[in-house]
């Protein structure tokens, strides 16, 4: 019988470093994870089973490489850019990549569809079917902001299913600590004491300390020394990064200020505010082809992206479209009056006239469809053929463009 167990191991320093990165960012962050995979097979024989094999699959997360910006190694549809991955990895090898991670605030601890697409494409790009996805989601759990939590989980795909793998944070507590003996076992055997005394000098130095203890203390001191050196180097590099970030920030501000100054000064040297230029030709064409269609003539949209009819241009630019753009009018209904097209629709596809801009969102799709239909009606039918006079209830004695 075979059992399979998978675990992810990550040190507290790597987990802390990931949290640190996200805390210093005001948006989501993501990056690649490097590490190694180890598999171990254990055989257990019990009273009930002679052959019980356990597979233990451990994935060690050793470090993470953060991406400077989001969506850097994949596009909007989740396709992975291998060149960009190599650029992110720099000196690290692709085969050391065991996964990728994402950190997003105040969201569910669930892999999204887009992340799944990216994950599958990354698996193929890196030829790693055991690729993992680490998701970290920080959030506040009290309204006062006094208590916060960070949840983290690792996902791996099996076919179309994503399952989570347990994460173990490596720490001192995982390693068994043995207790010191404070009392010796009492043994009065002469031969026992003789054997111990015979080999004593191999373990103890002249001052009574143990060789092994001295050696391990020396090793530990060397390690502490390395830590101090590394700490000093990191500190120097952090100061340099800090200074460069400040310099770059200052330069960006100066460039922006300079651009603004230059933008406000026109070619003749006079200080004029930059104004968008109106396309008067387009304005006149729309007025000609769609008279009264304020939604098409407007030059303003609201925040939802819908046209605001009250911002139409009311200026007569004095352009005769029939003379300036005769080809546009040659595709319109033959009996169209000068500068105006008639109502181009039959009663069967006429809608209620639009009265308020608030109705726009619901009917926008319908309006666009009707516009296309009205433009395609040409040639054989005239407006008079399609709609009896005054049947639309319109008081104007000139024909109007299709009503939306």
């Amino acid at each position: 019988m075979e059992d399979s167990n998978s675990y992810i191991r990550v040190s507290g320093f790597v987990l802390g470093s990931l949290m640190f990165q996200h805390l210093n960012s005001d948006s989501d962050v993501e990056g690649l994870i490097l590490g190694e995979t180890k598999a171990e097979e254990r055989s257990n024989i019990t009273d009930s089973q002679i052959d019980n094999i356990q597979f233990e699959h451990t994935i060690n997360i050793q470090k993470h490489i953060s991406c400077r910006k989001l969506n850097s190694f994949y596009n909007r549809i989740g396709e992975v850019n291998q060149d960009e991955i190599r650029h992110i990895l720099s000196n690290y090898k692709e085969e050391n990549v065991i996964g990728w991670y994402k950190q997003r605030r105040n969201t569910d601890q669930q892999i999204t569809f887009r992340e799944q697409v990216v994950h599958e494409n990354l698996k193929r790009a890196l030829s790693n079917h055991e690729l993992i996805f680490l998701l970290l989601t920080p959030s506040e759990i009290t309204t006062s902001g006094s208590t916060h939590k960070l949840e983290y989980a690792v996902f791996r795909s099996h076919g179309s299913q994503y399952c989570s793998v347990p994460v173990l944070v490596s720490n001192l507590g995982l390693l068994e600590e043995q207790d010191y003996w404070r009392l010796s076992a009492s043994c009065s055997s002469v031969n026992y004491n003789h054997a111990v005394r015979k080999h004593r000098s191999k373990f103890f130095s002249s001052d009574g300390s143990l060789h092994e203890v001295d050696e391990i203390n020396d090793m530990n001191n060397s390690l502490q020394g390395e830590l101090k050196i590394a700490c000093k180097k990191v500190e120097e590099s952090e100061r340099l990064v800090e200074k460069l970030l400040a310099d770059v920030s200052d330069l960006r501000r100066m460039v922006n200020d300079r651009k603004q100054e230059l933008g406000e000064i026109s070619a003749d040297g006079a200080s004029t505010p930059a104004q968008p230029q109106e396309n008067v030709l387009l304005c006149e064409v729309i007025k000609t082809l769609f008279p009264g269609a304020s939604l098409l003539q407007t030059q303003a949209l609201n925040f939802q992206g819908f046209p605001l009819p009250e911002f139409c241009c009311s200026t007569d630019h004095g352009i005769d479209i029939a003379t300036t753009l005769p080809l546009i009018l040659s595709h319109t209904l033959p009996k169209a009056r000068k500068g105006r097209l008639g109502r181009g629709g039959g009663t069967s596809w006429r809608k209620r006239p639009l009265r308020e801009s608030s109705e726009v969102p619901k009917r926008r799709k319908g309006m666009l469809e009707e516009t296309e239909e009205s433009l395609s009606v040409s040639g054989s039918e005239t407006e008079e053929d399609l709609i009896p006079a005054n049947q639309n209830g319109n008081d104007l004695d000139v024909s109007n463009s299709p009503v939306f």
């Binding site: 507290g12 320093f13 989570s164 507590g173 076992a185």
Partner: protein, 261 residues
């Protein structure tokens, strides 16, 4: 309320988190160094990792000597660097495998510290929590003070909003605090071993055994803490080297752009 909010610098947060995640077998603790502004906001710029004076795994208490030593360090080291007077403004400790909320002992301990300093705050980091069903790990942190309960002589906790303030680079004091951890752990182990080894009634076999225990425990620390910390520092250095190159290129580009304008 004496304190309106706590602003914890992200590099100080990093040191606290590294310390809390260093062991799931016992609660660890430290002191917060910083200043309080006129809006009663406590700004924590750095932390000092402490040795546990009470070796009970579920209790943390700071000895008066530790408080005094930390205050001195705050005065000399951090004040010297920032140019502003710094002091001990709070304490933090970890809750491995247990809820983030302070126990009644924690609340009483906090109340005691507040008798010395009304603005003293307490932070708790809860870690090594796992949802067995979803296999989701969890780390929580909270900030609190104590007030006298309306009924009786007991104390109850009040919530203090805490915000982690971005700090792009890791400060010198925080880096030095971070590498104190393996040194403190080693010192604790050496002190324990020295006391045991000095017992005169122990026979050679017992002493050899205790030497092996010391070696084993020190190896655990070197592997789980020192090694991981050194790995992280080397990764930081590598990341910074890449950042420095990119930032220098960006600086040159912007300088040229400015010159041509």
């Amino acid at each position: 309320m004496a304190v309106s909010a706590v602003h914890l610098e992200s590099d100080a947060f990093l040191v606290c988190m590294n310390h809390a995640l260093s062991t799931e077998k016992e609660e660890v603790m430290g002191l917060c160094i910083g200043e309080v502004d006129t809006n009663r906001i406590v700004h924590i710029h750095s932390v000092i990792i402490l040795r546990g004076s009470d070796k009970r795994k579920d209790r943390v208490e700071i000895s008066p000597e530790q408080l005094s030593s930390a205050a001195t360090e705050a005065d000399y080291r951090l004040a010297d660097m920032t140019g502003r007077p710094m002091r001990v403004v709070g304490w933090y400790h970890s809750h491995p495998h247990i809820t983030v909320w302070p126990s009644h002992v924690d609340v009483r301990t906090q109340a005691m510290y507040q008798m010395m300093d009304q603005g003293f705050v307490g932070l708790i980091f809860s870690c090594f929590i796992e949802d067995k069903n979803t296999k989701t790990g969890r780390v929580l942190y909270t900030c609190f003070q104590s007030v006298q309960a309306q009924k009786g002589s007991e104390y109850e906790r009040i919530e203090i909003p805490i915000h982690v303030v971005p700090h792009e680079a890791i400060g010198k004091v925080c880096l030095e605090s971070a590498v104190e951890l393996p040194r403190i752990l080693c010192q604790e182990e050496q002190d324990t071993y020295r006391k045991i080894h000095s017992l005169t009634h122990l026979d050679p076999i017992t002493k050899i055994h205790n030497g092996s225990v010391f070696t084993k425990n020190l190896c655990s620390q070197m592997s789980a803490v020192s090694g991981s910390l050194l790995q992280w520092l080397e990764d930081c250095l590598e990341q910074n080297r890449k950042s420095i190159i990119e930032l220098q290129l960006e600086k040159e580009r912007l300088t040229q752009e400015l010159a041509t304008m």
